[in-house]
């Protein structure tokens, strides 16, 4: 199962993500930001880092790179795309997932382990992930405070598109933005969301940094496996991109 990992200038989680995907049983392939060829990948991951230096706003410039045009076209055809951390910020800037990532409420860069819990069983990104169980994995971001207007938040809740929320060790959702279990002040404790069609998702924590017990937790492997297995089950999986958008 070939999965593309986009490399922007300033990406720094690409190698970890490729390794994590390998552990999850996939064959990862690097996709340089200047290429519009997704090399027949069955799914695409936008990894963490500081694409284009995070200038203007995190993800704002990366959004206009050639590879993102190809990723948007791939997503439009139903291809699975997962943005992790900075990748989530890029997807939000591109309008491929709803909402925006604001500066952390604390104003501090937050680099520590948090707990998140899957909120829906109906997403390909949570396939096989136990519902509501705290999953431990690191975060590392300065702009991770999820924001969307109330109408969008209600729609996300109603349609089951909030994939993950920050929870405490007992699995209680950290709805209060000042709750220490909510590391950045995200509204409704949102750590991961999906687009309307359900095939594009953004996730603030780093599952690839918790994909082996050697790293302190392998809970993240559940999320990487969900991606790999769902992509493998898709009817279009493995086929090279046939549509080229000029």
């Amino acid at each position: 199962m070939r999965i593309g990992v986009v490399v922007f200038p300033g990406s720094n989680c690409d190698a970890d993500t490729m390794h994590g995907l390998r552990v999850a049983g996939a064959e990862p392939v690097e996709l340089w930001h200047e290429t519009a060829d997704l090399q027949g990948a069955a799914a695409v991951v936008l990894p963490g880092g500081f694409a284009y230096g995070d200038y203007l706003r995190a993800g704002a410039i990366a959004r206009f790179s050639p590879v993102m045009r190809a990723v948007a076209e791939f997503a439009g055809r139903g291809g699975m795309v997962l943005g992790i951390c900075n990748g989530f910020q890029v997807l939000a800037e591109a309008g491929l997932v709803p909402g925006a990532l604001l500066r952390n409420r604390s104003l501090r860069f937050a680099g520590r382990e948090v707990s998140i819990a899957a909120q829906t069983a109906d997403s390909p990104f949570t396939l096989g992930v136990p519902l509501g169980r705290p999953l431990r994995m690191p975060i590392a971001h300065g702009e991770g405070c999820y924001y969307a207007d109330e109408a969008t938040l209600d729609e996300l809740d109603r349609t089951g598109r909030v994939l993950f929320r920050y929870v405490d060790a007992d699995g209680r959702v950290a709805v209060d933005p000042d709750d220490p279990a909510n590391p950045n002040g995200s509204v409704r404790a949102i750590a991961g969301v999906a687009n309307r069609a359900g095939n594009v998702a953004g996730l603030m924590p780093h599952p690839e940094r918790a994909a082996e017990l050697l790293l302190g937790s392998d809970d993240g492997l559940l999320i990487l496996r969900a991606l790999v297995e769902s992509a493998a089950a898709q009817p279009t999986s493995g086929r090279p991109s046939a549509v080229i958008v000029g």
């Binding site: 203007l56 706003r57 704002a60 410039i61 206009f64 800037e93 909402g99 925006a100 604001l102 500066r103 952390n104 409420r105 604390s106 104003l107 405070c145 924001y147 969307a148 207007d149 002040g185």
Partner: protein, 95 residues
């Protein structure tokens, strides 16, 4: 001071939309008592981008700036912007 003959010079002022949490603004506001300043509120921190645009006339130049401001320089979900013309071709700008 530089004269940019043949180009319009604009400033795009980007600010957080009302109601959007602005922790930078809040941090600035919270520091004011340390300066012995009181009575200041509503601090919002934004960004200013200045640029030259070569175009046939002012409205063509503004159309380019408006597009850049809406698509790249600001995120309309969380930020508002205002475009300000600083100088026109041939005319020295204020700074």
């Amino acid at each position: 001071m530089t004269m940019h003959s043949g180009a319009y010079r604009f400033a795009v002022n980007v600010t957080p939309r009302p109601g959007i949490l602005d922790p930078q603004g809040r941090a600035v506001e919270q520091s004011l008592p340390h300066l012995g300043v009181s009575g200041v509120s509503g601090v919002r921190v934004g960004r200013r981008v200045e640029l030259n645009v070569a175009a046939a006339d002012e409205s063509a130049a503004r159309a380019i700036v408006d597009r850049l401001a809406g698509e790249l320089l600001s995120n309309p979900l969380i930020e508002a912007f205002e475009v300000e013309l600083l100088s026109s071709p041939g005319a020295p700008g204020p700074g």
